[in-house]
Symmetry: C2
Subunit: 420 residues, 2 copies
Amino acid sequence: MPKKNAFYAQSGGVTAVINASACGVIETARQHSDSIGKVYAGHNGIIGALREDMIDTSHESDATIAALRHTPSGAFGSCRYKLKSLEENRAEYERLIEVFKAHDIGYFFYNGGGDSADTCLKVSQLSEKMGYPIQAIHIPKTVDNDLPFTDNCPGFGSVAKYVAVSTKEASLDVASMCESSTKVFILEVMGRHAGWIAAAGALAADSAGEPPHIILFPEVPFNEKEFLALVDKTVKEKGYCVIVASEGAQYNDGTLIAGSAHTDAFGHKQLGGVAPTLAALIKHELGYKYHWALADYLQRSARHIASATDVEQAYAVGKAAVEYALAGKNSVMVTIERHNGNGYRWELGEAPLDQVANIEKKMPSDFISRDGFGITQLARDYLSPLIAGEDYPPYKNGIPQYAKLAKVVVAKKLNTPFDI
Amino acid sequence: MPKKNAFYAQSGGVTAVINASACGVIETARQHSDSIGKVYAGHNGIIGALREDMIDTSHESDATIAALRHTPSGAFGSCRYKLKSLEENRAEYERLIEVFKAHDIGYFFYNGGGDSADTCLKVSQLSEKMGYPIQAIHIPKTVDNDLPFTDNCPGFGSVAKYVAVSTKEASLDVASMCESSTKVFILEVMGRHAGWIAAAGALAADSAGEPPHIILFPEVPFNEKEFLALVDKTVKEKGYCVIVASEGAQYNDGTLIAGSAHTDAFGHKQLGGVAPTLAALIKHELGYKYHWALADYLQRSARHIASATDVEQAYAVGKAAVEYALAGKNSVMVTIERHNGNGYRWELGEAPLDQVANIEKKMPSDFISRDGFGITQLARDYLSPLIAGEDYPPYKNGIPQYAKLAKVVVAKKLNTPFDI
């Protein structure tokens, strides 16, 4: 097999461990320098390939690449850029293959969620038709945990751990203040369509009755009356109430709770956010003093509290992607498979990309408690191992030391700029 | 000296390390069981003393008390309850002394901020007049870092570390997304009157030009025009802009930025929060896509990322309070004193309570950069050692294991309920 270069890119919202996958790809490629030449990373994801703007990772030292394992977010830059369908914009796909051809790239490793799985598939299909075959392997990544076939998605375990730990700590805070001050605390977490991240808040509780007392999932239509009754009951019984709310929590008709619009200082209608909207509702109806937090990017970039299981899996899927490519595989996503039986054991598998693309895995109904405000033991058994273990980055002067890359750019070979 | 019991209470907003001070008090009292009988903790702070609702800490095992060192928030409950002046409500102070007398309490350890220093002073003064002398020692605690005489306040170092680490991680996130998505990220942090917590965000930067690019302090009047110009310049030069904003940031006339009110779904005027208000302003004037986070209670309860220096100091001031009392001291606050010279060295000192009460220490002007949007090297030298070192709690199944107390209540001796 003639030696070929590899292209690696990060796609969509970044995570605390996507660079651990990059580390797995690059370190494994370096171990197979007989088969793989250089690893070029897309500068800002697939946009980098379209613009022929790539980073030559061979200029990064082994130590720097190793440090990617404990560095959050997208070291090479990611992007929110969904390629159109082949029919709508075939030129984009052809451009990708043209760039890959110019740089002798035979391996395409795409690290992302559902959209990037779809892109990965199309690149593979079109490349074959265009007579320049490329092995395209999809490396799963998404805090949303919504990819099919894989037991879980790298990135999710760490955001889940962050949300569980933060919920536990904030609950202790409100518990100690509730006698004379705050009675209700709301943590708003990510998850537009699936409630996996909100569900992880439940892991803060060691036993029934401990906070969080209420979880709001996008999968369960919001019943305002039942919600308020439960908040009131909880405050009366426990002295306080802790709520974890998914940003995608919605009414029966699909209207987001966050969409109960308010008007900002400029007279613009704004999405209020779930947390402040619920807080205003509780204050208005029940009169309780509240606090709320919106973790936003903090939750998905919190490498300092990453799950060791998640880091290990993120690295493993990157490593496996290279090994699968070298074994001749194409158009597959690396998957994580959970073994049945006692204890948590997992191994890697694969799923064909033409089956992965554009399927969103929501919380199964038997993961959500009957009243819709919590999770079942089944969900707890599923979630708990994913946040297990700590994997602390190194610190200097109290601050985590994250990788700083040289980012040497690959010289362009095409004289055709490409507007995106 | 006849053996006396001790009373310990937590006051005001809790921190990641206030229980480390409790641990210092109780462990040290146990080591002096010849002089100190039992340590009674106020259930929900000073309210517990007024209601004669106290927790007998002698029922907690040594292991449980040791675990307080790594447990955030107020294990015995805190309160927001400011005693009125002696003239306005002498009965409250008299009640305190009545309760202390009934339970043979000769030591009063009050763990809080400026208000509690004032209460501590008055209890000491009045007790003498009432012929039941009590040694009152104030144990400093406040995330706001605004107490005078002490170099810094226990609780601050950990929130500072949380803000610095979170700013660093979120900055990496927006840096990797900015090419095609979010260009501005705003983190809103605590600090109504003083910008110490916001200033700590600057520690995320290893060198000049690194994020955060803009910090907003309550001490610097908000100049909207200069602010917008700097946001725009930063986005154009760096591709993105990270802002850390103190909740107390305000206009020249004292109007809070957060007070640019909007109207919620119920037609109520709401304080918008600094972050969403700035975000709306930036979107309106510059058109940039933004994200923002509101850490709220997460920042002050984040024991998982506590500063080891802060934990050590919080424990030390609790320990010293007991030792000071045994040495016959009264009406003092334990202080932390920084040594001059190379490296960071500190020792404990004391300040008379009649000079501590009701002084708020703001950021000195030479800690704030000339343009008002950052900190000076002097500030960096002051702040940096306070976040040094990590002090991780133990974990089980991916979740920190925090102390769970038995909370055995002390039998009441007074037949007079006290309404507060």
